[in-house]
Amino acid sequence: MCGIAGICTLEGSKGISAESILRMAGALNHRGPDETGIFLDDSIGLGHTRLSIIDLSGGSQPIHNEDETLWIIFNGEIFNYLELKEGLIEREHRFYTSSDTEVILHLFEDNGSSCLSMLNGQFALAIWNSVSKELFLARDRMGIRPLHYVVHDHRLIFASEIKSIFMNEEVPRKIDPIAIDQIFTFWTTLPGRTVFQGIQELSPGHFLVARDGAITIRKYWDIPFSQPGEQLDWPVERICGEIQDLLDDAIRIRLRADVPVGCYLSGGLDSSGITSLVKNKFNNRLRTFGIRFEQGEFDESKYQDCMIDALKSEHTDLRATNDTIGATFPDVVWHCEKPLLRTAPVPLFMLSKAVRDNGFKVVLTGEGADEVFGGYNIFRETLVRKFWARQPSSRLRPLLIGKLYPYIFNDPRLKNTLQAFFAKGMEQTEDPVYSHLIRWENTSRAKVFFSDDLAAAIGAYSGYEEMKANLPESFDRWDSLSKAQFLEMQVFMSNYLLSSQGDRVAMAHSLEIRLPYLDYRIIEFMGRVPPVLKIRGLKEKDLLKKVFKGVLPEVILNRPKHPYRAPIQQSLLNPTTHGSADFLSTESLGAAGLFDGKKVEKLLNKIRKTNHATEVEGMALAGVLSTQLVFRQFGTFFTCDLPHDVVPTVFVDRRKAA
């Protein structure tokens, strides 16, 4: 696990300095504190910061092929590298390291871009062909590892994180109004876009080739769903058996490392399932890590304790208090590099530090199960609303909504209005984004705080239209659950969950997360399973629960679903966290020009007076504060100085003048 960065000349002969690559690598030091490597020739500079996990002594990067015509820098892991290596050795490739990185390079040498379909892993990589002068960038199928780029002044500048690109002072650092509109709709930007104008993210499952001054981008994988009629007709037992086998193997290959691997354990079904399988089948001396909250409504300690008892694991927990969440929020925004409408990334940021402090570099996590196996309420909500829409006058059908959200329906006074709320747009069942409209429209209400200038810059732009225009060709023929799963995975999971609650908050403390549920074999298999088996009646993740029957305690199998959330206004408007007040002052808001200072002031006064924030007000508070932080952190506060005394452990200089 590492950070990668580089500059590739597209036109002209302006040289690339070692110092500029070193600066870019220095900004990624947190991703790879163990080693730094540099490669330079007359057309390209590559930088790599390494977190050593496989082949600790020999895997220094950049790595080259036999005749040193191909050079690779790599962030991530290829879990099936041992199997792939066997075939390469048979084809007489010679290896000088025992790393997974070298395997990719030889595989690319033989197969070009089609090597990507053979990789089972989480990665962002750059390969330079010094003969054809071709640069190849690629990102894993789901987008677990980040990769950003910009074309500026006839150069392609790329890096794991945007702050590394910005170490080139000439690259403009301007907030993109359309990105703000997207974040205040979808909680994140849509694939490809970042919050900064001109800075792109290579989308998950895509690769980029730069050659002869031209850039081409291609998709090599998409989230697969079979349409009705083409789905599996296997008996449930056989489907569960297949899931079991795939999950076992996904875990087995994700335990490959030359350092110890721990597990995150929240007490939820997903992480409990992973930790139990690790304990039962692979590692009896299990080390687990979990979060506990000061505020009861967010805390899952009861179930976490139950699992610790059952597993007898050596467990470390991190207590997330409102004070520490508020005080840590600015650091989290700096690492996430985008506005956040939630504080949920913060405890994960704090947890990764605790894990590192305990000497672990790698953990398995339960992320992805809700998306792949159908665990989210939004999926069940879609099914219920469609069921209700077939008989809108039914008095019984709307009661099902209350079953999905017992924690907001527990106020009897709200029953009728909440039902009316969920009835909104109920008849629009043919809308391709039907499942998510309520959530997105609710989030969009926070746009009331946009300044007139920001609203004018956004104009008539519609994120919905952009999203609908980019749906897969077969999307219309999918069932409603598959559609909802796709939207959730493509928008929310890839761009928010795997980033702001995944890679960024873990790598901030040099911790690698590995996600067995997002093994592409599991995703592809579950894409063929009929929806009725995924959510039975209102029972979410039914197949996964069947697989874990006998593995997990009954209390975990039958527990109500508890969405992972963290306190917002209690943390951000906390008297002990003075920092936020400065960023939310009328002067500060006016200087940034993105939000209406008077309205924000009224919002803050209202929350302080009532000590309560509605769902939308909480999102607005977090969104406004984090946008202000991004504006400052990457604006006037940003410095292009070399942040650390970085000395390269590998320095390959192939410049003619050198």
Binding site: N416, A420, A423, R445, V448, K602
Partner: protein, 84 residues
């Protein structure tokens, strides 16, 4: 102040943070226009109870009474009559 103006002022302050231009029309549905979120209606209820000193029963909490400015005005007017 007339009931309808008091309601408009409350809605603008509370849900539009002072922006009167964004107020819905008198017959526009709050829910349909996305003006009030799922729990916002309780803030309206508290406002009415406190300002007009009327008690609102759970059974009163239906969209027919609460889902537009005019519906609120009618509801408050009839409640005050019955309370008197």
């Amino acid at each position: 102040m007339e009931i309808d103006n008091a309601i408009r002022e409350f809605l603008a302050e509370n849900f539009l943070y002072g922006n009167k231009d964004g107020l819905p029309g008198d017959d526009d549905s709050f829910m349909e226009k996305g003006f009030i979120d799922s729990t916002g209606i309780l803030e309206v209820v508290s406002f009415i109870e406190e300002k007009y000193l009327i008690t609102i029963e759970d059974d009163d909490l239906i969209p027919e009474n609460f889902d537009s400015i005019n519906r609120l005005v009618n509801f408050i007017t009839s409640k005050r009559k019955t309370n008197v």
